[in-house]
């Protein structure tokens, strides 16, 4: 069961204009750098991208925005990105802002085969418009919940720290973030890894995402791992 492909280009086989992509990462942390570069090169248009953030002007999903490849972003937090702002305000780019926990849980729901979930996030706000509201008693409290639907992206693209050729993934530190959830939601799931190893080299107990969710895997050529907010203490 070898899921290895040569590179990002080969991994993206089958991607078409107008498809929906989900991408892992939080800010610039844990983003699939090599796949994003390949997406830019490939130039498929009118993409809908599900990703917590939209990158910065010259890195991450910002690179796709510059090429005007994205029709719609589904995110919880954007900004830090002038081209994004320009496209959004001019109406070139559709933006669907949703609560961060809702985003994460809708991806998880896709991977868990649950067509919908309930969350209190957004009740009474414009996020609730047009959505089904339902009252539940939970944790000793009666309150309203929104019903939110699972995401089912055509392609899911994530970066992991280590992966084996069967697709089992281990993430490093907070580069985990949305990535396992993104990976489990995809109809086709691409994992790029910093280190690709043979089956048996990862401890079965330490795997964050079982390979059954991964369709194609490759070792990324290089990783810049840019830091968005370098905050430090003096020694």
């Amino acid at each position: 069961m070898n899921k290895t492909v040569k590179n990002a280009d080969e991994a993206l086989a089958g991607l078409e204009d107008g498809m929906t992509l989900a991408l892992g990462g939080f800010g610039l942390c844990g983003i699939p750098e090599n796949s994003i570069a390949a997406l830019v090169k490939k130039g498929k248009k009118n993409l809908t991208c599900i990703s917590n953030n939209a990158g910065v002007d010259d890195f991450g999903l910002g690179l796709l925005l510059q090429k005007k490849l994205i029709k719609k972003m589904i995110s919880s937090y954007v900004g830090e990105n002038a081209e994004f702002e320009r496209q959004m305000l001019s109406g070139e780019l559709e933006v669907d802002l949703i609560p961060q926990g809702t985003l994460a849980t809708r991806l998880m729901a896709g991977g868990y085969g649950m067509p919908a979930i309930f969350t209190p996030a957004g009740v009474g706000t414009e996020v609730a418009e047009g959505k089904e509201v339902r009252r539940f008693k939970f944790n000793g409290e009666e309150k309203d919940y929104l019903m939110e639907y699972a995401f089912e992206p055509d392609f899911s693209i994530v970066k992991a720290w280590k992966g084996d050729t069967m697709g089992n993934l281990i993430f490093r530190m907070t580069a985990r973030n949305f990535s396992p959830l993104v990976a489990m939601a995809g109809k086709i799931t691409i994992a790029e890894v910093e280190e690709l190893v043979q089956p048996g080299e990862l401890n079965p107990q330490e795997i964050h995402l079982p390979g059954i969710y991964v369709t194609r895997i490759f070792q990324g050529e290089k990783y810049e791992k840019r830091i968005e907010q370098r905050t430090v203490r003096k020694r």
Binding site: L28, Q100, R176, N177, F178, V232, R233
Partner: protein
Amino acid sequence: MLDKNGIAKRIAKEIKDGYYVNLGIGIPTLCANYIPQGVNVVLQSENGILGMGPFPFEGDEDADLINAGKQTVTLLPGAAIFDSALSFGMIRAQKVNLTILGAMEVSENGDIANWKIPGKMVKGMGGAMDLVASAKNIIVAMQHVNKAGESKLLPSCTLPITGLRCVKKIVTELGVLDVLPEGGFKLLERAPGISVEHIQNATAGKLIVDGEIPEMILD
């Protein structure tokens, strides 16, 4: 009148031993610097950390280890890393004891608006809507009035709502106020040198002043 650090210092007194706490961006982040000795807390960052530590020493930054504000951070002994779904899972399940966050407006029934100004560039709600919809105990850290001198404590919010009837306590540069379940801002403490009248004038919503209001003790 308190500065940002003063507000953070006062809020830090609300953090009890054994609490799991989520700190928003801005003043709330500063609270971590004032947690009293002997009070053991675990900081949660919604991008997937329990046991977040201070910023790293120069040169120790790790691109794979950031907080929800995208700042490089460290982990303390006993930390745990998890994905975003579990992170909001524990928030929704109310395992996080206290959420401290900023606001643009709070209404006298506890509604909060802090994510969107119509007509301006909208950056998104991030995790704020999840946090305010779920947390049992929410303290807002903010300025009492905006830059135009208008009160941010209102009868009802004028900006798009982030969450309904969720704020329990507000600490501003002028004082400490509880939001009562039946509605109204109950003044608990005045900032050093601030009069009740000053606070009354800065509060557009219903202010409840019951008896003598003590000046806050910060140390």
